[in-house]
Symmetry: C2
Subunit: 257 residues, 2 copies
């Protein structure tokens, strides 16, 4: 590695052999010296989990031409931690996470391993972006996504971000020519109405698969869900200071503490 | 269950047989009809993980006198989801999570299964509090904690919370007589300097245990870390709308999108 090119850490939650991370690496290589540290198995929905009751494995893998890559047995957040602590010679300039196979808009930011990896980098003072394409297929077409990854990576390297801020970028499932552009958005207020598919195993014991329906109760035209439904790439600035400012005023006014 | 008492869901991340959840159940019973749904094994550090690549087990357990209790093979967030979907006859009025064995102040809110369970309930529109005692010992003394759980539960039932707001309550490891009271606080800005304990297994392969050091870069006297260091119970109002408001203005001003 030379000192004049940015060091870019690339990770994801779908695993090191997914097509989404391959697309991200291809663009990242245009901007800096890339190191990939990603899970050795799918880790979707792992949120900000870290591995503290088990040990981790870390192995070099020969997957990407000209790019050093490692697979880790832990979560996406573990990958970022072990990359910074054990692999990278210096703190990276940028962490790119994804490209996720499926949406991380709205409340999905909370459950997303992709976004939690980016958040972990941001907590460590590294500029960070999570990218997601609204297509769950393993064979999704990432050409349109790569165009916007390139533009947004240029912008973050040129213009930076405020401290304590990372980006959640979601890309609609459309051909590049039909994407209308980018919108800077707030997180839509929504939730999942969970349901479970209950089944009985061959020994007669019951078990459950999580299912559910995404319910958007937010009609705003400044949200990520609105942007995506209307053909735009959504960019949401995300924070990890979870202090509810109005809550502070409410508690001081109405609670007897 | 009658209709005039609150329905209270109790969960945690240390597992259904921990002493912390037993202390919480004892206080919760004073206020309403309690149902416990908690992990069947320790789930510390699981953050907002949900189980989507595996099935879940759910079993009734006979642990608490007069209180229905279930153990679930999933994460703390899974416990809240399956409780609401499969166990409770109606949406609970309150979700109490903990009492965690160990601090969830400052940035630990992000990694905490205890707090993520409370957050999941809040996303579903349920008033929610996560409680933690700054004592990792399985034999920790929860008597002081129970006093403050009682006061804070009274306050939330009497005075409510703003929408989109839950509470992160941390209790210092002090005898009740030495706790100075409660402080409403913001989340201290801090991070973990991760390190790894690398070892070699009997077959010669390397493996890693996560270790690290908590680094508080925040000198404010209005933070949860300050309150705890000075003998107070800290109460931080927490949000799950992660939109970085200053980030919105920054991107609109400085980025070319």
């Amino acid at each position: 590695m030379t000192n004049d090119r940015p060091v870019i850490l690339v990770t994801n939650d779908d695993g090191v052999i997914s097509n989404g991370i391959r697309a991200l690496v291809e663009v990242a290589k245009e901007f800096g010296d890339v190191v990939v540290v990603a899970p050795d198995s799918p880790q979707s929905g792992m949120g900000h989990a870290i591995t503290i009751h088990d040990m981790l494995r870390l192995e070099r893998v020969n997957i990407f031409e000209d790019v050093a890559a490692y697979q880790c047995s832990g979560t996406p957040v573990d990958c970022v931690k072990i990359a910074i602590s054990q692999i990278l010679k210096r703190k990276p300039d940028l962490c790119l996470s994804g490209i996720n196979h499926g949406s991380n808009s709205s409340i999905n930011v909370i459950y997303s391993g992709t976004m939690s990896a980016a958040m972990e980098a941001s907590i460590d003072g590294i500029k960070a972006i999570g990218f997601s394409l609204l297509d769950y297929s393993a064979e999704a077409d990432f050409e349109g996504s790569k165009h916007y990854v390139r533009i947004i990576t240029q912008q973050i390297l040129a213009n930076g971000l405020p401290s304590g801020c990372l980006l959640n970028v979601n890309i609609p499932k459309l051909p590049l020519s039909e994407i209308k552009g980018m919108k800077i958005c707030r997180q839509a207020m929504a939730h999942w109405e969970e349901d479970y598919d209950g089944r009985v195993d061959p020994t007669g014991r019951k078990y459950y698969w999580l299912t559910g329906e995404f319910v958007n109760e937010d009609n705003g035209e400044d949200t990520d869900v609105w942007a995506l439904e209307n053909g735009y790439v959504s960019i949401v600035p995300v924070q990890y200071d979870l202090t509810h400012q109005h809550g502070l005023r409410f508690l001081n006014k109405y609670w007897d503490v």
